[in-house]
Subunit: 328 residues, 2 copies
């Protein structure tokens, strides 16, 4: 009795990634996470070909993005990765695509200490879709929520904002592509930021210790941060000149090929926005510097129910026509 | 700043299903499962329109199937449900389809004590896909595996086998449709068995206490049970006349419109096959009778590495051309 195609596919490409005892070598219906003293943080995010990534993106970057968008959530919650479940919907099981995809997924699983626990592989006549559920641990009761920001807290963000949306524009041959046409390294940087998020797991413990509230920025800083404020029942003032931008983004901005509004409304940043008291910011800044992750204060939480105000360099509130990316 | 389409969709249809504190009303990036003394069992299964269900299936049955195929895994592992994550890939967010889908999903979540913890809603130009990751609890070290069947154990199966594959054949107007054309209730029974699995959660604790090994039968009894034997390093002898069949399946069989080989090789049964010592069978039989779930002995585990032997009424081994359903 020969093994089925799905079994062969799992054995060949994914069993090597199941490096933890609880995965049972992917030979069972389920995996086991052993009892521990802390809470388990669970999150899920899916990426769809042509929606969250381009069909022409290399399979290794697709694999990394699929896992990393979930690891980014764990980092923002202050959680240490435990493992993940993979659902892979494929049109066909192409050898070259799958081997490259699985190898990169395995590299990232190793690099971030997040082994494959199990999954499901299904065929679809439609676009490829990769859905991952990721698990992380925090000390009991210590998951960092969106709903616990306090008036007076500072607002901090990691990395730089807006690179990914420019990267997508470069890939689509938009205005950003023309703006960086003469600078191949800037173009490559922006494209890489779109294709391969940098989950800030090296700061997860620091976020857990320092932040009063946090979330990852996946659908645009402006809209995502507004959700954090709404969940916390607070408002905020954000100074747009303080929003950290990469040199490449500054160049596109200087060329008039984007606006600060577009940069703070574009998706796929996968940075962390968090709120914290000033002494905690001093600690986080030190830990971030030690981890080599940029972090910057962009504003402050204030009392009120109004949406956060984004101010330009002269202190005037900027109106955002489209605060957050939505697929519907 | 208006909420995005996805936020509205979540608020309207799915927030009412997030009835556990750890789901944080679906307002955060992640959910929390509080620390407990037992192990967590994690499993994931996806269903794709046109592959695992028909585009013409009612949305309430699609929702139930999506959750129940996962609950079936938990039941086979002896686990009590804790909650689930939902990834929903939609072409469009149709009001009527979504409200029916979400209401049925909520009913099942209530009925099986498995609340929605979180999820992701994405748009796709392709077929609808529903991927669920479900979580359950077992006492520490007590998840029932596939790999622990022992020679001398009996082999038991819950419910009846082959109904779902006949139900699909009825929906497709195949030979089974002709065989039950004069018996509308038999046709409806078989179709329902295809569309709405019956996860045997009422037996989960009994499986946990009695079974030496277990798995759920999703891709055909013959092929799935062969996997259990392979994982356990054992062989088995199964008596086909002992495989429990419904009256409807017997009628289709009597009409010559299917074969026992087809019934034990067809998918979507979502019953449990388990192995257990004879005293444990006596206990399981009692508990199953109490729960109103049919259970039957169909054979025994023997030493050896050979695939399980399926014997007909005269004791002759039957050759199976296609032991298990595979989507590739």
């Amino acid at each position: 009795m020969s093994e089925s195609g799905e079994d062969n596919l799992i054995a060949r490409y994914f069993r090597p990634l199941a490096k933890t005892a609880g995965a049972l070598e992917l030979r069972d219906d389920a995996a086991v996470l052993a009892a521990t003293s802390g809470d388990l943080v669970v999150t899920t995010d899916a990426i769809v070909e042509g929606v969250h990534y381009l069909a022409t993106d290399p399979p290794d970057t697709i694999a990394r993005k699929a896992l990393r968008v979930n690891l980014s959530d764990l980092a923002a919650k202050g959680a240490t990765p435990v493992g993940f479940l993979l659902t892979l919907a494929l049109r066909e099981a192409g050898e070259s695509w799958l081997s490259t995809f699985a190898a990169a997924l395995g590299d990232d699983a190793d690099a971030f200490g997040c082994p494959l626990l199990g999954g499901d592989t299904v065929s679809t006549p439609g676009p490829v879709m990769i859905s991952i559920a990721a698990f992380g641990r925090v000390a009991s009761g210590r998951m960092v929520k969106r709903s616990t920001a306090r008036p007076g807290d500072l607002v901090a963000v990691t990395g730089t904002i807006g690179d990914a949306t420019l990267g997508l524009d470069v890939l689509r041959g938009g205005r950003a592509a023309a703006a960086v046409a003469a600078d191949a390294s800037a173009a490559a940087y922006l494209v890489d930021r779109y294709r391969v998020p940098r989950p800030r797991l090296s700061l997860a413990k620091a976020i857990g210790n320092c932040a009063s509230a946090a979330m990852d920025v996946s659908d645009g800083l402006a809209g995502d941060f507004a959700k954090l404020c709404a969940a916390s029942g607070v408002s905020a003032v954000i100074d747009l000149p303080k929003v950290p931008l990469s040199d490449a983004a500054r160049a596109v901005l200087a060329a008039g090929a984007t606006t600060i509004e577009a940069l703070i409304s574009g998706g796929d940043d996968y940075e962390i926005v968090c709120t914290l008291a000033e002494p905690s910011w001093n600690e986080l800044a030190k830990l971030a510097a030690g981890a080599g992750v940029p972090a910057a204060i962009i504003g402050a939480i204030v009392e009120g129910e109004a949406p956060p105000v984004f101010r330009d360099g002269s202190g005037c509130a900027v109106t955002l026509s489209r605060a957050s990316f939505s697929h519907f």
